[in-house]
C-alpha cells in the first residue's frame, strides 16, 4: 500500500526535520520519501488544514479485558479505540482472566498485535493471580516478551515481596511498574479525602495513602541499589510509579531522580483534567483510583511534567460495561476509558507544555521506560506514525465512542486536538471526516 501524508508539520525532538512542514510518502510500510510537493501516486492520501505528524503514540497503561472480560472490551474493540485515539503501541496490564502470568498468555496478546496495526506490549504479573503472595516466573516471562512486571490493579502491599521483586528484576534489567497505594488507609474509600468528600458524605481516600507508599518504595529502591550485589540495569528505571496523583509524590520522585535513583513515573491524562470538586455531581464516570485530587495537586502534576519529573502520560484505559457503572456511586467500579481521549484530554487542559513536550510524554517518554526504541521519521525507517491536528475542536459524545464500554468522564466536552490517521506495521487507519 502507498500512503501520502500531505503538508504535515513534523514533531520530533532532536530530528533535523523537527518543525518543518513536509509531505511523507510511505510504501510497503516504510517511509520512502520526505519532501515538499511530492509528485507521487498513492492509494491513501491524508490531507487537511493544520496537520502535524509524530512518531506513533504509545500508551503504557491499558487495562486489557481480553481474555475473560470481553464483555467490557475485547482485543478488536481495544485496537479500534487505540487507533481512534492515534495510538499505535500499548502496554497492557495483566489483570485478565486468567492473569497474564504464563508464556502463552503473553504470546496471545503479542500475536494479536503482530497481525494488526496496534502493537501490544504485555506487562506480566509479579505475583500469581496478582494476589501479592507467590512470584511468577519473571525471567521466563521476560524471555517470552513481557516488557514489564506489575500486579496492575492490585498495588503491591507487602514490603518484603516488593523488595525481592526489585532485587530479582534488577538482575536481568526488568522493571517493576506499581501504583502506590497503602490499602489499609483506603478501605471502603470512594474518592479523595477532603472538604468535598465531607460535604457529600463519601468515604475518603487520603493523599497520605499514596505519599507514604512512594516514600516506602523509594526507601526500598535505595536499599536495593546500594547493595554491593547490585549492577545498574541496562535501562534507566528499575521502579516505575504508575498514575501518581499528589503534589508530594511528584516532589519525592523528583528528589529521588536528583539523587540518581533508577526511578520513573507517569500520570493518567484524566488526572490532569478533573479535581474532587467535580464529584458533587455523583457521576460514577468520575470514579477512578487514584481519585481526582485537589487543584494544588493537579497544578503540581503539570509542573512535574514540565520539569521532567513525570516521564509519561497514560490513558489508564479501563473499560466497564454499563451494569458496572450506571449505579449508585459507591457501588460502581473504579476506572474510566481513555484511549480515544488521551491526546485531546492533555491538549485541551494544557497551559504549560509545548506541543513537542506533550508528544514526548506519549512517545519517547514511555518507550524509554520500557526499553523500546522510538520510531524515527526518516527515509528507510518503518513507518510508525500518528497524524494529528493540534488545534481542531470537536465535541466528544457518547455516540462517537469506539470502545465497547462508554465509561468516559469526558462525555459532552469540547476538545481541542484530534488524531487524524495512524500508520504502523504496514497498516493504515484514518478517521472519517
Amino acid at each position: 500500500m502507498k500512503i501520502l501524508i500531505r503538508s504535515a508539520k513534523i514533531v520530533q525532538k532532536g530530528s533535523s526535520l523537527n518543525g518543518l512542514i513536509r509531505d511523507i510518502f510511505i510504501e510497503n510500510g516504510k517511509i520512502a520519501e520526505i519532501g515538499e510537493n511530492l509528485m507521487v501516486e498513492a492509494d491513501e492520501v491524508v490531507e487537511e488544514e493544520g496537520l502535524s505528524v509524530s512518531a506513533g503514540w504509545f500508551d503504557m497503561r491499558v487495562h486489557a479485558k481480553d481474555p475473560g472480560l470481553e464483555y467490557k472490551e475485547d482485543l478488536y474493540s481495544m485496537e479500534s479505540a487505540a487507533k481512534a485515539g492515534g495510538i499505535t503501541e500499548i502496554a497492557t496490564l495483566p489483570n485478565t482472566k486468567p492473569t497474564v502470568q504464563t508464556r502463552e498468555s503473553v504470546q496471545y496478546l503479542k500475536n494479536f498485535g503482530k497481525n494488526n496495526l496496534v502493537a501490544i506490549h504485555p506487562m506480566a504479573a509479579v505475583t500469581l493471580k496478582c494476589e501479592g503472595k507467590d512470584f511468577t516466573e519473571m525471567i521466563d516471562l521476560n524471555q517470552a516478551g513481557a516488557v514489564a512486571f506489575t500486579d496492575g490493579e492490585h498495588p503491591l502491599q507487602n514490603a518484603d515481596i516488593f523488595l525481592k521483586t526489585l532485587q530479582y528484576l534488577a538482575q536481568f534489567g526488568g522493571i517493576l511498574v506499581n501504583r502506590p497505594e497503602e490499602e489499609n488507609l483506603t478501605h471502603f474509600g470512594q474518592m479523595h479525602e477532603g472538604i468535598t468528600s465531607t460535604l457529600i458524605g463519601m468515604k475518603g481516600m487520603p493523599k497520605m495513602a499514596e505519599d507514604m507508599m512512594v516514600m516506602r518504595d523509594l526507601k526500598l529502591l535505595q536499599y536495593v541499589v546500594s547493595s554491593p550485589l547490585f549492577k545498574m540495569p541496562n535501562r534507566k528505571s528499575l521502579l516505575h510509579f504508575s498514575c501518581i496523583s499528589t503534589a508530594e509524590s511528584v516532589e519525592m520522585i523528583g528528589q529521588a531522580k536528583e539523587m540518581g535513583l533508577p526511578v520513573s513515573c507517569d500520570v493518567a491524562a484524566h488526572q490532569l483534567a478533573f479535581t474532587d470538586e467535580n464529584l458533587f455531581s455523583f457521576d460514577p464516570n468520575l470514579k477512578v483510583n487514584p481519585p481526582f485530587r485537589a487543584q494544588e495537586d493537579v497544578d503540581a502534576l503539570w509542573e512535574g511534567l514540565a520539569n521532567g519529573t513525570i516521564d509519561a502520560i497514560v490513558s489508564d484505559h479501563n473499560p466497564h460495561e454499563e451494569e458496572s457503572k450506571k449505579l449508585e456511586f459507591d457501588m460502581a467500579e473504579f476506572g474510566v476509558i481513555g484511549l480515544e481521549t488521551l491526546f485531546p484530554a492533555i491538549a485541551t487542559n494544557n497551559e504549560i507544555l509545548s506541543a513537542e513536550e506533550i508528544i514526548e510524554k506519549i512517545t519517547t517518554g514511555p518507550r524509554r521506560i520500557l526499553g523500546i526504541a522510538n520510531p524515527k521519521i526518516e527515509i528507510g525507517q518503518n513507518a510508525n506514525l500518528t497524524v494529528f491536528s493540534a488545534d481542531k475542536t470537536w465535541n466528544y459524545t457518547e455516540k462517537s465512542i469506539v470502545s465497547k464500554s462508554k465509561n468516559s468522564p469526558f462525555i459532552g466536552q469540547t476538545f481541542t486536538g484530534k488524531a487524524v490517521a495512524v500508520i504502523n506495521n504496514g497498516k493504515f487507519w484514518k478517521t472519517e471526516k
Binding site: H187, F188, Q190, E193, G194, I195, S197, T198, L199, I200, G201, M202, K203, P206, S281, F282, P284, E323, K326, L327, E328, F329, D330, M331
Partner: protein
Amino acid sequence: MLSTRHLLGIKDLTLEDIELIMKTAQEFKDVLNRPIKKVPSLRDVTIANVFFENSTRTRLSFELAEKRLSADTINFSASGSSVKKGETLLDTVNNILAMKVDMIVMRHASPGAPHFLSKHIKANIVNAGDGTHEHPTQALLDSFSMREKLGDLAGKKIAIIGDILHSRVALSNIFALQKQGAEITLCGPTTLIPRHITELGVKVSHNVKETLKWCDVANVLRIQLERQQIKYFPSLREYSLYFGISKQMLDELDKEIVLMHPGPINRGVELTSDAADSHHSIILDQVENGVAVRMAVLYLLAAQN
C-alpha cells in the same frame, strides 16, 4: 414555592425554603391536634416509600404524613425483594414508577443515591437518608423542634455530640442550622469526627462536659455500629464512660438545656435512660413534629407539579 423539585439535601435549600417548610409544618401541626387529623391536599397523588435500608420510625413517620394528606401510598423495602435478586436501583424504581407513582421517598445506603436517581427519573424525590450523606427531613424536624423551644435560632449554641463521621443527621443539621444563623460545636472522639469538617465553620470539641456547659441544645447522635466497617474506638463501655451523657451531668449545669436525639437510642451508650427520659429531653416532641414536617415537605413538593 420551594426552589427545588426534589428534597435531596439541606445543602441545596435556601433559607426561604426552610422558612416556608417551617411555616407550613406549623399549620399541619395545628391540623394534627384537631379531632379530624386528615386533610385532602394530596388526594390522587401516589407516593412510594422505597426503603433499601432498615428503618422503622422514619418510614412510619412518612407513611403517616402521607395518609394524613390523603395520598395513596405503597411501601417497598429491600428485605425479601428484588434487590436481593440483583436488580439495579434504576430498574427497581422504574418498575415502581411504571405503576404510575408520582413521588418517591427513598432511603438508601449509598451517598448520592437519590441524586443519581433524580438524573434518570421524572418523579419528585424525597431523600429519607442516603448513607453517610444527608437526612434532610430529620434536620428540618430538629430545627422545628428547637424553634418551638428557643424561638429564632440565630446566635443559638447547638452541640452535636457523638458519631459525626457516620452520621447523615449531623451533616444535614449543620447545613440547616448554619443557614438559620446558629453556632455549632461538634463533640466526639477524634476518630469519629471528619478531618476536614472545621472548614465548614464549626467548632470541634472532645470534651462532653465542656460542650454541655457551652450549648443551649445538645443533639446527641446514635453510635452507628452498623455503619462502622472498621474499628473507630475500643469499646462501648469506654465510649459511654467518656462520651455518654447522664441525667446527673445535665442536672449539674447551672442552666436549662434542651436534649435531643434522632433515635433509635442506644440506652446506656450515648445516653443513660434517666437522661433520655428527663425533663430536658424533647425526644418524643421530635417524633411528633416529624409527621408535621414531612407533611409540609410532601405538600410543598407536590405543589411544584
